[in-house]
């Protein structure tokens, strides 16, 4: 990959930071900044409501992002319609929307199955649903390679008494191990389960499609787009009549003081003024990814991940999480006799930016490791030189710790 010159933050960065925290937030290429800037500079207006030129231009640009997203996540004959793309504030919002709207009438006869490796965003909304409606919340375990145990998943699906929703991450942020998502989707479909894939980490780094799922959620800020924007793909029919999660302006057809008629999909779930600049920026970010070629990004990040994993394994006192499984986009590791925040702080003192702690995935890290970890994560701009800097800085830090 040769895309670093597309990022002012990399070419102009005065402190020479080796940014290895892209799983938290990816950097933003100049073309996305320019696209967002153009909205504010030339047609900064609200959408859907005004009939003046700027409002019209903003509406056209905003709505044009739906087919861009749809084109990006479709597969073969599985085309994605504009009405199946809801814009949200991010993955967390998208999952909450499904838990509140799609599962609004679920009760103790229904079950939600998540995996052991989920991010808090794909745990807590289901716990909340369980606590208010009695839905059964089941956890499927990982095998020794870090893959969802399909036998266990099938057991749980078999035991379901009525409706089942399988909600799992395609590429968990706490392991970096790509799941066999086609298998998970197909198996779940055999038991008529609804499937939600958390694509927050997978959509930016591997061709992710909606061929075997009903919902796909991801965030803008992890795919080289702006923060505060995300996507909920919802297969047609699933959310058309569900009660809206949020209500207010622009998501209605008619309002009087006796009652309100809600708008249709996807606007039904986009209450209030949307993150217009964010959505427009997201569209440009996805186009930028397509210009780079998602397969090239996959190959580059796989190379960087292998390189980093091998290098980290050779460092004394370092234990890589699931050392025998290959990773995509991120490596999680712990250091013997050193606290993760100490390591991260000393790395930062050497201009190497990583994430430390429980990575918003406390259950798997507490259960399997019993302590916080360090995560180095990558983007298509990450270089092997940056990994070398991580290793050197880590070795230097460990002399102190």
């Amino acid at each position: 990959m040769n895309c670093r010159s597309d990022f002012a933050i990399l070419t102009d960065s005065p402190d020479g930071t080796a940014y290895l925290d892209s799983a938290a937030t990816s950097l933003t290429p100049d073309c996305v900044l320019e696209k967002v800037n153009r909205y504010y500079r030339y047609y900064n207006a609200n959408i859907h409501r005004g009939i003046h030129n700027w409002a019209e231009k903003a509406t056209v640009e905003y709505e044009a992002v739906r087919p861009i997203v749809g084109d990006f996540i479709q597969m073969g004959t599985t085309t994605v319609k504009d009405c199946e793309i809801v814009f949200s504030s991010g993955t967390t919002h998208s999952i909450n929307l499904v838990a509140n709207s799609f599962c609004a009438d679920w009760d103790s006869d229904d079950q939600v199955i998540i995996s052991e490796a989920e991010h808090h965003a794909n745990i807590v909304p289901w716990q909340q649903l369980r606590d208010r409606s009695g839905v059964k919340l089941q956890v499927v375990f990982l095998d020794e390679k870090g893959q969802i145990d399909l036998g266990h998943l099938e057991d749980l699906l078999k035991r379901g008494t009525r409706r089942s929703l399988v909600a799992t991450s395609i590429l968990p942020n706490a392991t970096g191990i790509l799941q066999d998502w086609q298998q998970i989707g197909q198996l779940s479909k055999m038991y008529d389960a609804t499937v939600l894939f958390d694509g927050a980490q997978s959509v930016p780094r591997i061709q992710t499609d909606v061929s075997v799922c009903d919902f796909l959620v991801f965030s803008g800020h992890k795919i080289y787009g702006p923060t505060g924007v995300g996507v909920l793909y919802a297969r047609q029919g699933l959310l058309d009549d569900a009660p809206p999660y949020m209500s207010g302006g622009d998501m209605i057809k008619t309002v009087n003081f006796a009652e309100t008629t809600f708008n249709i999909m996807p606007w039904r779930y986009e209450a209030g003024t949307q993150n217009i600049a964010g959505v427009i920026g997201l569209g440009r970010a996805i186009q930028w990814v397509q210009e780079q070629g998602i397969d090239n990004i996959t190959a580059h990040e796989a190379m960087i991940s292998d390189y980093a994993q091998e290098a980290l394994k050779s460092v004394d006192r370092v234990s890589v999480f699931f050392p025998d499984s290959s990773k995509l986009g991120l490596i999680v590791f712990a250091v013997d006799n050193a606290q993760s925040s100490d390591v991260a702080t000393l790395l930062n003192a050497q201009q190497v930016a990583v994430r430390s702690g429980y990575l918003c995935a406390e259950p798997i890290l507490r259960n399997r490791l019993g302590r916080g970890v360090i995560r180095a994560s990558f983007g298509c701009y990450t270089t092997t030189e940056e990994i070398d800097r991580l290793i050197t800085a880590l070795q230097k830090s460990l002399q102190t710790l």
Binding site: Q339, S340, S341, D342, T345, A349, Q350, S356
Partner: protein, 133 residues
């Protein structure tokens, strides 16, 4: 020594460090001198929240003064605790209550002591002030 003099001393020590890494090494070494903290005092009610790592603080009133011991599983936090203790430990409680935490900015380690940061020591200072009241 006055509180302000202690702060100047620490500031000088840190300023003499050629780079950030050495600065942290110095801070970590300061933590090595903390008084031992009994395992049996590692209680939830003695935990100071708001740190990415665990931090326990135990205090007693010795006459008018506040005597404290503390520890953490993170060595940088231990060092920061040592800095705070050098400034505040065994001081009259009134003096601790009146202490202006903004003075810590003079240490030149804003990125560590900024209130609101998860691994910051703002919550430690707040707890100490509470214990001094």
């Amino acid at each position: 020594m006055m509180i302000t003099e202690e702060i100047q001393d620490i500031r000088q020590l840190l300023e003499d460090c050629p780079d950030d890494l050495t600065k942290y090494q110095t801070i970590i070494e300061m933590g090595d001198d903390l008084d031992p903290y009994p395992e049996s005092y590692k209680l939830d009610e003695l935990k100071v929240s708001g740190c990415q790592s665990d931090l326990w603080l135990y205090a007693e009133h010795h006459g008018d003064c506040l005597h404290m011991i503390a520890t953490s599983d993170a060595v940088i936090v231990r060092g920061l605790v040592a800095i705070v203790f050098q400034i505040l430990n065994d001081r009259p409680r009134q003096e601790i209550r009146d202490f202006d935490a903004a003075l810590l900015a003079q240490l030149g380690i804003q990125n560590i002591v900024t209130p609101g940061r998860q691994n910051g020591i703002g919550s430690l200072i707040n707890r100490i002030k509470l214990l001094a009241s």
